[in-house]
Symmetry: C2
Subunit: 151 residues, 2 copies
DNA sequence: CGGTGATCGTTAGCATTGCTAACGATCTTG
DNA sequence: CAAGATCGTTAGCAATGCTAACGATCACCG
């Protein structure tokens, strides 16, 4: 059977939904929600950046990011800092506690996946890696089509 | 570079999150939310089934499914029907309108992906297909590990 | 130099999804 | 026939997403 686009789209959708539900459980278990962990990840690895940049990186509207950052700040994972040269901007930077929980979350998630990933042979991992690459490509292609439409 | 599990987990997480955000936009555009479309899909393709079965299929608690079904029913996509032999059960079945929007949603999603999927060469599609298979395997492996833990 | 418009982040308010706890109705079993 | 189990619902909480509207700050042009 040759894989047709329609079936691939359905399967991809289901697979992504199921995967995220599993990962979300792991994230909840360490005491942080998925969107927050995702935003925190950007802050930790992407250095300090403004709320607006963070919203764009997470593909979310500014009001939503305001609340996520507020939550992260209340938990002590990030801090807001007024920009020195532009009073409108707010720089978000990670605290040591934030870096710690990122590491914990990653470890937790990895351990959740590890049994399965490590059970994969070299061939399986290569397939996963190339599948991820394809998904990323589809992803950015769709995003581009979308932004072009809305422009 | 040989792909290591940690990096694969991170990339997979990001790829899945990004993909779902794109797909959700398509679903929202046709006037139905992601969880509802997902549940509707199970009802359409899985024949009539009880609310509890549907909740399990979607890996969601019964109260959540009650509300999703209520929403679908208000929009005329499904109907509740009392079970003939067991008064506690509620059978959920799809309406013609429900089947129609499923087809529309699928078409929409496929068209969103099609530009990218169809741009893939035979090799790309094969990579995507095998990647999906691997993700599904990881998925069910994690689910199993989880339920065993909680038992 | 001053004012007008753009940009940034926030607040307020709405809908949806997810959960747990508790309940009423129905079935099953002793 | 009574006691416990099962099913779906209701009520109430927290989190995420959106749009609309606002105050503060900046940039630009006359």
């Amino acid at each position: 059977m040759s894989p047709n686009p329609e079936a691939l789209a359905d399967q991809l959708h289901s697979a992504a939904i199921g995967l995220l539900r599993q990962l979300r459980r792991e994230d909840d278990a360490i005491g942080i929600t998925s969107p927050r962990l995702s935003a925190l990840s950007v802050v930790v690895f992407g250095g300090p950046l403004t709320l607006g940049q963070l919203a764009k990186a997470e593909q979310v509207k500014p009001p939503t990011m305001t609340r996520i950052v507020t939550g992260l700040e209340e938990d002590g994972f990030v801090k807001r800092r007024d920009d020195a040269t532009d009073g409108r901007l707010t720089q978000i930077h990670a605290t040591p506690k934030g870096r710690r929980i990122m590491a914990a979350g990653r470890a937790r998630r990895v351990s959740a996946l590890s049994a399965a990933v490590q059970a994969l042979d070299r061939q399986g991992r290569r397939e996963l890696a190339s599948g991820i690459r394809v998904i990323q490509a589809l992803n950015s292609a769709m995003r581009q089509a979308n932004t072009e439409t809305h422009r």
